[in-house]
């Protein structure tokens, strides 16, 4: 790695972390309309099954496989008072760390991070643990999300029941 690429990456990581923390804060504040604006029009949001974290949404069963339209419907649903599992909303805490920026090109960068998402509702505590894989696009001095994928480390969903919240 050249010194220049290395310094570019070092700067990127800080910018990326800033961006991911902002995203997490929007989710925790349930500002889902603003959160959706972080995504490009062709973006994907995926959560593979616990027993197939490498799942390919074209072939395999996933837990979530949203294109932008379905993601927008997911947001609409969660904003309504009729998504019964999330009305009233859970209190959540999205935590992002072990951020690694990879494959930096002029257009796009791949980012992997660890995450824990804590969810509290009606006396119940749930904790989701796993790895985020992002593809981010440089846009207007910041980033847009081209893809977000949340791969769960838990062997099943027994401890959390469902993925009704956005990870």
């Amino acid at each position: 790695m050249t010194a220049m690429a290395s310094s570019q990456q070092a700067i990127s990581r800080q910018q990326v972390e800033e961006f991911l923390y902002t995203e997490a804060a929007l989710l925790d504040a349930w500002q889902l309309d603003d959160w959706l604006l972080l995504f490009d029009e062709d973006a994907k949001y995926e959560v593979p099954c616990n027993d197939a974290p490498d799942g390919d949404p074209a072939r395999d069963l996933m837990l979530i496989d949203d294109n932008h339209a379905r993601l927008a419907s997911r947001v609409d649903r969660l904003n309504s008072r009729r998504a019964h599992r999330e009305y009233p909303h859970s209190r959540t805490n999205h935590q992002v760390f072990n951020v690694r920026v990879q494959d930096v090109s002029t257009e796009e960068l791949s980012v992997t991070t660890s995450f824990t998402v804590w969810r509290f509702r009606a006396g119940r505590t749930s904790c989701y643990v796993g790895r985020y894989r992002y593809r981010l696009r440089r846009r207007d001095g910041g980033f847009r999300i081209a893809a977000k994928r949340a791969e769960l480390d838990m062997t099943d969903l027994r401890s959390v029941a469902d993925v009704a919240i956005i990870l």
């Binding site: 027993d51 496989d65 009729r82 599992r85 062997t155 469902d162």
Partner: protein, 436 residues
């Protein structure tokens, strides 16, 4: 333990024993279920012995283990078992997952391929037909070791129907075909509608929630809740251009032996073979072709039933095959009266065109599963019922809807079929008190 004095704790069940749990009154057209069926530890213990140990339970699908030596392990009726395709015979073998020596699990991976299963504790080794093949230091057994007797223990009965493998812990149970009764025709509709050859798609939904398992039985075959509980799903359908006119309409059928089905038309599309906007314009030709194939093979009437009619089917006691906007196979087990563990898969035609498979997967996920637009709200409803039971004050659930008329899909006849069989298998409430 006998102290000669009955502890006070047994009083409540004695009182419960004075009355039956399921009460059907044909004169008044009322059908009621006592809520202790969902909350009582005594009822739960009796269910484990009288229902889960005495029924045919779904193990898995033959397509999960296509090659000799392929295996999957999972709990069935709460017990760890594994299913392996024998290398010598090609048969589907279902074994208790326990070493015949001192008990450890012999199959400790979720799935894979293996010619041998070795218990890591003392290295006893079994082949894929269950035969004991190796025991370290066997000279130490002065009386000799009978390798034939010490093979892996098979689950008492194993039979399959159209690729669905069932097992029973009851050696005396009727054969699977007899047991399935009227459900066989409906399984045929699902499989033949998929072109006769199906597979389980890779990826499993494993989840749990805090409600009695019988509430999930009811919910899985309940048309009545769809519009109210799943309002946001119907709103989503409208947003993608689906016409909701016509709604959900059809009938409920008791298939015998506790099995039941609702069959109905619906606004949503079906990958085989009812087009909807979600599938995209370019899919119309392919879906029309699939439908024409069904007509050529099965005639217009049966093809219509396969293509346009939905089926939510219960195979008593704990298998659901729902052939709706996609096909899901779902089984569940209660580790406690107020907890249910669910495992759900997607069933699809083999060699399906990639574009159609993609649409099927999309269609499945928008409604079904722990991240879908509907299933989480079902979990909320069922947990809410369970919490309501704890509130007390009301002792009975009412399941009378549609009695005294030819039952439609939004009625509750399909649930009554389940409950009648359940009551029959559980015996009288007085028996239940004795079972403690």
């Amino acid at each position: 333990m006998s102290t000669g004095v009955k502890p006070m704790l047994t009083r409540a069940p004695d009182v419960a024993a004075q009355m039956p749990i399921v009460v059907e009154d044909p004169t008044a057209q009322r059908f009621r279920v006592h809520r202790s069926a969902m909350t009582s530890p005594e009822v739960h213990r009796a269910e484990v012995e009288r229902i889960f140990a005495k029924s045919w339970l779904y193990v898995g699908h033959e397509s999960e283990i296509p090659q000799p030596g392929d295996f999957v392990r999972r709990p069935v009726g709460g017990r760890p078992i594994f299913m392996v395709r024998g290398v010598k015979t090609g048969n589907v073998n279902v074994f208790h997952n326990t070493c015949t020596h001192r008990g450890a699990l012999v199959c400790r991976q979720e799935s894979g391929n293996s010619k041998v299963f070795q218990c890591f504790y003392h290295a006893w080794t079994f082949d894929s037909e269950g035969q004991l093949k190796g025991v370290p230091d066997r000279d130490a057994y002065a009386g000799g070791l009978n390798f034939d007797e010490l093979g892996l223990k098979r689950v008492a009965r194993v039979e399959s129907y159209r690729g669905f493998v069932f097992a029973s812990f009851d050696p005396g149970i009727v054969d699977l075909h007899t047991y399935l009764a009227g459900a066989k025709d409906y399984i045929d509709l699902v499989i033949d509608g998929c072109g006769s050859s199906v597979e389980i798609v890779r990826g499993t939904h494993h989840y749990s929630f805090d409600a009695n398992w019988k509430l999930l039985v009811e919910n899985s075959i309940d048309g009545y809740h769809a519009e109210s509980t799943h309002n946001t799903y119907f709103k989503y359908l409208v947003s993608i251009g689906t016409n909701l006119r016509g709604g959900v309409s059809g009938r409920a059928i008791d298939l015998g032996n506790g099995h039941a089905v609702i069959e109905y038309s619906s606004p949503w599309g079906r990958p085989v073979a009812k087009w909807e906007p979600l599938f995209g314009e370019d899919a119309r030709t392919e879906i029309d072709r699939l439908r024409a194939d069904l007509v050529a093979r099965h005639g217009e009437d049966r093809a219509h039933t396969m293509a346009e009619v939905n089926r939510n089917m219960l195979i008593y006691p704990n298998l659901i095959i729902n052939d709706i906007m996609a096909v899901t196979v779902r089984t569940f087990y209660p580790p406690a009266p107020d907890v249910v563990d669910v495992t759900a898969w997607e069933l699809a035609p083999v060699n399906e065109l990639p574009s159609l498979r993609q649409r099927r997967l999309d269609s499945f996920l928008t409604f079904l599963g722990p991240g879908g637009f509907a299933t989480p709200d079902d979990l909320e409803a069922l947990e809410s019922c369970q919490q309501g039971f704890v509130s007390g004050g009301v002792e009975w659930n009412d399941i009378s809807r549609g009695m005294g008329r030819s039952p439609v899909a939004n009625d509750e006849e399909q649930m009554r079929a389940f409950w009648r069989r359940w009551q029959h298998q559980m015996g009288t409430a007085a028996d239940l008190a004795d079972a403690q």
